[in-house]
Symmetry: C2
Subunit: 349 residues, 2 copies
C-alpha cells in the first residue's frame, strides 16, 4: 500500500466511502491552459511534446498545480501505440492526426509488429516514471490507451472519419482479419498498459471514443470483446491496478462493460448518472459526466449543472466527478476553478 492507495480517487474507484467526491477532467492538460500552450510552443510539435518525457511531465503536472485535481493522467495520445507499430503518426495543422502508412490490406494486418512497450514506447514509460517522481506523493497517476476498435479506425481510415466506412467494411466483409487485428491490438495494448503500471501508474483507463458508432452486434464482437481481453490480461498481470473503461455513446452497453471485470466506467453526458447507477448497481464505480459544453457558459450555470450531476449520482460511494468527454479548447480557465470548487465544497461545509 502506498500513499495513493488511500487517496479519494483510489478509494472511490474501490467504492469505499470518501469525505467528498474526487474530481479530475479528461484532457485536463490541454489547450485551454495558457501554460500548456506555452510548453506546446516550446515543444514545436505534438510529438515533440508527447515524445519528450520532461515536457510531457511538465504539462501533466500543470493542471494539478493550478487546480489541485484529485488524480493526474499521463499526457500522451491513443495513437502512440499504432505509431510504435510503424504507421507513422503525423498531425496536420487544424485537421487532427493522420497516419502516413495506414492499413490497406489483410497483408498489412498480418505484418503488424508487436512492439516492446519498454523499447518502441520507452519514452512513454520514461514520462510515467518522471511524472510519478514529480507528483505529490498522494496524487494518483492514471495511465491510458485507446480501445482496439477506436485505434483501429485511425489505422484503417488513415485519419479521423465521420462514417468509418473502411473500418466497418473490414469488420463486416473480412471478419477473420478484423478479429486478428483486434486481438493483436488488444495484446499490444494490454502489454503497453502493464508497462505503464510497472513504470508507476496507479490506475488505468481505456478510451473507446468510437464504440458508439457500431451496431450492437459489431460492438459486442469487436469493441467489447477486445476490451474484455485487455481487462483479463491486466487482472492477471496487475491484479491490484483498477481499470476504468470509457465508451463515448456507449450508454446502452454499460451493463456489458461492467461485466468485463473492470473497476470503473466512464459515463458520457447523454445519460443521467442516476440511470447509469441503476443499470450497473454495485458492480463498478462511475466516472462523469458533466457536458463539456457547460464549461463554455457562465459561473452560475457551471455551478448549478455541476450540482445536478452530483445530485443525480445520489448518496453512497463510487462516484468520481469528471466531464462526460474531454474539455473543449476554448474554455476559460477560471470556469474550471468554479467546477472544481463546486465539487470540492459540495455537502462538505
Amino acid at each position: 500500500m502506498n500513499d495513493r492507495s488511500q487517496s479519494l480517487f483510489m478509494r472511490a474507484l474501490r467504492r469505499e466511502p470518501t469525505p467528498r467526491r474526487p474530481i479530475w477532467m479528461m484532457r485536463q492538460a490541454g489547450r485551454y491552459l495558457p501554460e500548456y500552450r506555452a510548453t506546446r510552443k516550446r515543444a514545436g510539435s505534438f510529438m515533440g511534446l508527447a515524445g519528450n518525457p520532461e515536457l510531457a511531465c511538465e504539462v501533466t503536472l500543470q493542471p494539478i498545480e493550478r487546480y489541485g485535481f484529485d488524480a493526474s493522467i499521463l499526457f500522451s495520445d491513443i495513437l502512440i501505440l499504432p505509431h510504435a507499430m510503424g504507421l507513422g503518426l503525423g498531425f496536420a495543422e487544424g485537421e487532427g492526426p493522420y497516419f502516413e502508412r495506414p492499413l490497406r490490406s489483410v497483408d498489412d494486418i498480418e505484418a503488424l509488429p508487436m512492439p516492446d512497450p519498454n523499447q518502441e514506447t520507452g519514452y512513454v514509460m520514461d514520462a510515467v516514471r518522471l511524472i510519478r517522481a514529480s507528483l505529490p506523493a498522494g496524487t494518483p497517476l492514471i495511465g491510458f490507451a485507446g480501445s482496439p476498435w477506436t485505434v483501429a479506425t485511425y489505422m484503417i481510415e488513415g485519419r479521423g472519419s465521420k462514417d468509418f466506412a473502411r473500418a466497418k467494411k473490414l469488420l463486416l466483409a473480412e471478419p477473420v482479419a478484423a478479429q486478428q487485428l483486434m486481438n493483436h491490438l488488444a495484446d499490444a495494448t494490454a502489454a503497453y498498459l502493464a508497462a505503464q503500471v510497472e513504470a508507476g501508474a496507479d490506475a488505468l483507463m481505456v478510451f473507446d471514443s468510437w464504440g458508439g458508432a457500431l451496431s450492437p452486434t459489431l460492438y459486442r464482437e469487436f469493441s467489447l470483446a477486445s476490451q474484455q481481453r485487455i481487462v483479463e490480461y491486466l487482472q492477471k498481470h496487475c491484479p491490484d491496478t483498477p481499470i476504468i473503461l470509457f465508451g463515448k455513446g456507449c450508454g446502452q452497453h454499460l451493463t456489458s462493460l461492467a461485466a468485463t471485470g473492470c473497476s470503473g466506467l466512464g459515463v458520457d453526458w447523454t445519460m443521467d448518472m442516476s440511470e447509469a447507477r441503476q443499470r450497473v448497481g454495485d458492480q463498478v464505480a462511475l466516472q462523469g459526466n458533466l457536458d463539456p459544453a457547460v464549461l463554455l457558459t457562465t459561473p452560475e450555470v457551471i455551478a448549478s449543472e455541476t450540482r445536478r450531476v452530483l445530485t443525480s449520482f445520489g448518496d453512497g460511494p463510487g462516484h468520481i466527478f469528471n466531464l462526460g468527454h474531454g474539455i473543449t479548447p476554448g474554455v476559460d480557465p477560471e470556469h474550471v476553478t468554479v467546477l472544481v470548487e463546486t465539487v470540492k465544497n459540495w455537502k462538505v461545509e
Copy 2:
C-alpha cells in the same frame, strides 16, 4: 380513403399486417444516383434544385422509378423553414449549409417572423402538389421538417457544429429565450407540415438529427417537448396523417418519443430492432435500421446484414425497413438494388 391508404407503407405505419415489409431509404434521392447528379448540375445550386418545384419533383421520383421504393419523400431540406424566416441559407462547396444571418441575441429570437407556409415556402407546397400528381397513385408521399432543436442548432451556430457550444449555452444560460425559440419553431414547423398535408403529403416525418447531443434534462425540456408540441398540433389539424419521429442517437429516449402520440419512430443503427421493439411495445410502428455503412461493403454482406435487421424486428406487423441514417453519397447504386430485392423477397417466396 385514397389508393395510398392501403399501401404497404401506410398499413405498416398503422401496425396492420402486410404481405411483406415496406422499404424506403432516408436521402433516397441523392448524390449516389447518377440521374440525381445530372439534375443537380442542371439546377446549378442546391437551392436551384430544392427551390424549383419541377426539378424537386424530378429527383423525388428518380429513386421510385429506379428501385420501386414503397414510399417517396419530398426532396427538400430541414433548413428551408429557417431560410423562410429570413436567415439567408447558403451552401459552401464541400462544407455544408450555413446561414448568412444567424441568431446572435435574444432580440434576434424575438424578431423572428412566423412564415405563412403557402407564401414564403409556397415553392415547397408547389413541389408537393406536383410530386403527388406525378407519383403512381398507390405510392405514398412523406412530407418532412427538422425538429426545433436540430434546426435551432444551425440558426444559432450559423452552420454545422461539433459541440453545439453556442446553442447549448442558449439552452443553459437563457432558458426563457430558448423556450421561446423552441415554441416559435414548433409552431412554425407544425403549420409548415400541415400545409404539406394539405398539398398532398400522406405521412409526415420530423428529423431530430442532433437530439443525441443533449443531456437527458435538456433533451426532455427542449427537443422532446417541442416535438410533442408539433405532434399535438398535427393530431388536431390533420388527425388522419401519421407522423414518424426520428432522433439520431436518441435510442434511450424511444419510450418518451413513443408517448408523444406519434405513429412511428425511426431507429438508428446503434440499437437492435428487437430491443427497440421491446421498449415501445405495440404503441408505434418502427422504421429502420441498417447501418448506411453496410451499403459500402459487398452484395453478400448487404444481403446478410439486411436479413439480420429483418430478423431482429421479428414477426408481426409494424416494421418499415429503412437505413438507420441517410444513405452515404459514395454508394454503388447496384448495392441499393441488392438491399431492395432482399427486403422485397424476404419470406415471400
